[in-house]
Amino acid sequence: MFKGCTPVYGKPEVEYDLNDPADRDKLGIADDGKFADGYCHFQNCTWMVEERKGAYHIKVAIEQLESTVRQLLASGRKVTMVVIRMKGPSRNELRRFTVDKKSRNVRLGNTAKEIRIPGVDSPVKVIYENDLQKNIEDLRGNNWVSALA
């Protein structure tokens, strides 16, 4: 059950629960099942789309993010970060996707290419429930490094 966006940069200032039809209507997101769980804004100007996964399935999570981001951008909304939050990796998908331990960026295993949702500069990031606090710190730390570079 989605209980608000992960507080990656503190408590979100603006938050939409995309499982709530009223919030989806406000944003113009279709009720086709292919939508992420949350869309939120943090004080540091990050607009984040988040998908939470109970069962392992990175591909489906990326599909839901791709569809949501496309609709948000089409209605003039901003998206600067996309995150998948899941229990942990499945061995099967780890052969296909790798997650960088520091940046939390997902890469395609065979090419090591970072996965990007069209229209979003930042690569897709994955954080795990079983190491949530550390993963959030990694995301924050990585953002500071990027900001200073």
């Binding site: 399935h57 990007r116 949702i117």
Partner: protein, 222 residues
């Protein structure tokens, strides 16, 4: 329930013939699941099933649940050169209707590149707050579970025309069912006992291999 079906690799068969054979099996799956899954179109893609994974949608044929017209559309895509059958894949978006629950889902035919992760044919729901996987919904109704899991594993491999295709493995499980995530499996079919034993051994090797790293020390048990 992620459903994942792997077909046997046939030597000396052209990529086009292999794809046509796979498509035939996919339509048999759709026929079998017809009471529960209603396709609502067909997307033809190349390279990967998603744009962010490097894929490209070549054709989108929405709002049609008639299997014959979906089949014609897929055959048209296969025959419409110049794209190579090796890199082609199809996704049938649709609705799963299980009792009073209606959920959006899909059935995907993966190409040569993606079959190693998801099988030749993959089917599931798009998760909701209530159900994270098709398995969660199937488990709520014994009759549905009997048809979609038990009967499917028992009967489906025999329905497939062995002249053109042979089912190698079928996995039912949470998420992305495979031999290496044994704890997520609820059911499996193997075409031979040898395949089952091979799966068991390679799973043990894979799982235990993580612990048996070079330099690991062992305690002698006397």
């Amino acid at each position: 329930m992620g459903l994942s079906i792997s077909l046997e690799n046939r030597p000396n068969i052209s990529p086009k013939d292999a794809l046509e054979a796979k498509l035939k099996v996919a339509f048999q799956v759709l026929e079998f699941q017809r009471k529960y899954f209603i396709p609502k179109g067909i997307d033809t893609w190349s390279i990967a099933p998603l744009e962010s994974l490097g894929g490209k949608v070549l054709d989108r044929f929405p709002r049609d649940s008639d299997l014959d017209s979906l089949r014609s559309r897929a055959e048209l895509s296969i025959n419409a050169a110049p794209w190579d059958s090796d890199i082609l894949g199809f996704t049938f978006p649709g609705d799963w209707i299980l009792g009073s629950t209606k959920l959006t889902g899909y059935l995907t035919l993966h190409n040569k590149e993606w079959r190693s992760t998801y099988g030749d044919i993959e089917s599931n729901i798009y998760p909701t707050t209530e159900f994270s996987d098709l398995l969660d919904v199937v488990r709520t109704n014994d009759k549905t579970k009997e048809h979609l899991v038990h009967d499917f594993l028992k009967d489906f491999p025999n329905l497939v025309d062995k002249e053109t295709s042979k089912i190698n493995r079928i996995y039912f499980g949470l998420g992305t069912p495979s031999r290496i995530d044994v704890d997520s499996l609820v059911g499996a079919y193997y075409s031979t006992e040898k395949d089952f034993i091979r799966d068991c051994l390679s799973t043990v090797k894979e799982v235990e291999g993580e612990r048996l790293e070079p330099g690991a020390s062992f305690r002698r048990i006397s």
